[in-house]
C-alpha cells in the first residue's frame, strides 16, 4: 500500500497529489507532462519532493515534516523506467541478478520462466530485441524482491504487435507473483486492461480516480483529460 501526499515544484510546474493506493494494480493515466513519471521518480527516491510524505506498507520513505528521506537503495522498490536502462557492460544474467537479495523467495528460475528469458541469460544486452529488453528489465526489477513495482510506459516504445505480446507477461507478473504494480501510461486500452484502479492526472493534479469499469464508461470527450490518449 502506497500513501502519497506530495508536493513537487519544478519551475512553473507544480505537482500536488494526495492518494492512497491499495489495489494490486494501479494505473496512473494522463497525457505527457501531467506528472506521472515525476510521481514514480519521487516514490523511487530519484527526485526529492518539496513537501509532503510517501509511505510504503506503513514505512516512511519520505516525510518532510519528520526529516525522513530514505535513499533509493533502502526503499525496496522495483523500477522499470521508460528508457529501460539495462546495464550495457553486464550480460543478461548479471543484469537480472544485480539486485537479487540473499534469502529472497523469488528465484531466477521462477522469474526466468514466467518472463521467458531463460534462453537469453548468457547474451549481451546489446543483442536483445525491444521486447526482450522489456522482459529482462522487468526480471531485473523483480529479482530485487520489491515491495512495489513501478512501470513507466512499459509499452510506449514498442510497436502494436510487440504490445500484444508483452502485455500478457505483465499480467502474469501481476497475477502470479502478487507484487503490487504502479503502472504509468497514456494509453486508454492499456489502462483499462491492466488496472484494478485508475488515477487520472492532469497538469500535476488528480482529476479523477476510480475502477477500470467506471473508467471504461467515461464518454470520449476531447476536452476531458480522462479521454486523452
Amino acid at each position: 500500500m502506497i500513501a502519497l501526499d506530495l508536493r513537487i515544484e519544478q519551475g512553473d510546474f507544480v505537482l500536488q497529489v494526495r492518494e492512497r493506493l491499495e489495489e494490486r494494480a494501479v494505473v496512473l493515466f494522463g497525457r505527457s507532462g501531467s506528472g506521472k513519471t515525476t510521481i514514480l521518480d519521487a516514490i523511487a527516491g530519484l527526485r526529492t519532493p518539496s513537501a509532503g510524505a510517501i509511505a510504503l506498507n506503513g514505512r516512511d520513505l519520505f516525510n518532510a515534516a519528520r526529516g525522513i528521506d530514505l535513499p533509493p537503495h533502502e526503499r525496496h522498490i522495483g523500477y522499470v523506467p521508460q528508457d529501460i536502462a539495462l546495464f550495457p557492460h553486464l550480460n543478461v544474467r548479471r543484469n537480472v541478478l544485480y539486485g537479487s537479495r540473499r534469502g529472497q523467495t523469488l528465484s531466477l528460475d521462477t522469474v526466468g520462466s514466467i518472463l521467458e528469458i531463460d534462453a537469453l541469460l548468457d547474451r549481451g544486452v546489446g543483442m536483445l530485441s525491444g521486447g526482450e529488453r522489456q522482459r529482462v528489465a522487468l526480471a531485473r526489477a523483480l529479482m530485487s524482491a520489491p515491495e512495489v513495482l513501478l512501470l513507466d510506459e512499459p509499452l510506449a516504445a514498442v510497436d502494436l504487435e510487440l504490445r500484444r505480446r508483452i502485455l500478457p507477461y505483465l499480467e502474469r507478473v501481476r497475477d502470479a507473483l502478487a507484487v503490487p504494480i504502479l503502472y504509468v501510461t497514456h494509453d486508454r486500452d492499456e489502462a483499462r486492461r491492466f488496472a484494478d484502479r485508475i488515477v487520472v492526472l492532469d497538469r500535476g493534479t488528480v482529476v479523477w480516480s476510480g475502477t477500470s469499469a467506471d473508467f471504461a464508461a467515461i464518454r470520449s470527450d476531447p476536452r476531458d483529460p480522462r479521454a486523452s490518449a
Binding site: 522495483g78 539486485g99 530485487s144
Partner: protein, 221 residues
Amino acid sequence: MNLWEITAFTVVTALTATALMIPPGLFLAWLLARRRFRGRLLLETIVSLPLVMPPVATGLILLLLFSPRGPLGRVLASAGIDVVFTWRAVVIAMTVMGLPLFVRTVRAGIEQVDRRYEAMASTLGAPPLRVFYSITLPLALPALAAGAVLGFARAIGEFGATIMIAGSIPGVTRTLPVAIYTFAETGRDREAAILLGVSAAIAFVALWLSNHLSARAGLRT
C-alpha cells in the same frame, strides 16, 4: 648510473606515482563529476593548480612540506622515513604533478556515464559505493586508463618539482629529464641525445595510447 639504469629508474618511479594517483584521483574525479557541494569550485581549482603553476614553485611547496622540519616531513622523520633528496621525493613530485591530468580525464569520463544507470542500480538496492565500483567505474574504464597513461607520461617528464625536492643525485634521484639537463649542461651531448630519444619515444607511445583510449571512452581530447 648508466643510461639504462636512468631509464629504468624513471619508469619504475613513474609507475609507482601512477599507482599512487589512482585512489585519491578516482575519489576526486567522482566528487567533482557527481557531487554538488560548497567549495567544489575551490577544490577543482586546487586540484588543477599544479598544471598551471611553475613546477619549480610546486616543488618548493613540496620541499617546505616534506623537509625534516616541515609539517609532513617531521611526522615522517619521526617514523624513520626520509623523503627529501631520496627516491620517495621523486615519486611524490611525479604524483603531485600527474594527478591533475588524471583527475581531469577521469572526471570527464565519469560525466559521460549515463546517470540513469546509476539511478537504476540504486533502486535495485546498491549503496553508493557499490554503484560506483559496479556501474560507474566499469563504464568509465577507458577514461580511467587514458587518465592513468596521461598521468604516467606527465610523471616521466617531470623536471621542475623533482629538481627542487629530489635534486639530481646520480644513482639516487636522477630521472630522465633531470639527466638530460645535467648531460647537456656538462657537454655530454651523446648521452643527452640518447635520453632525448628515449623520452620522446615514451611520450609518443603514452600519448598515442591515451588518445586511443580517450577515443574509445568517447571523450574529446
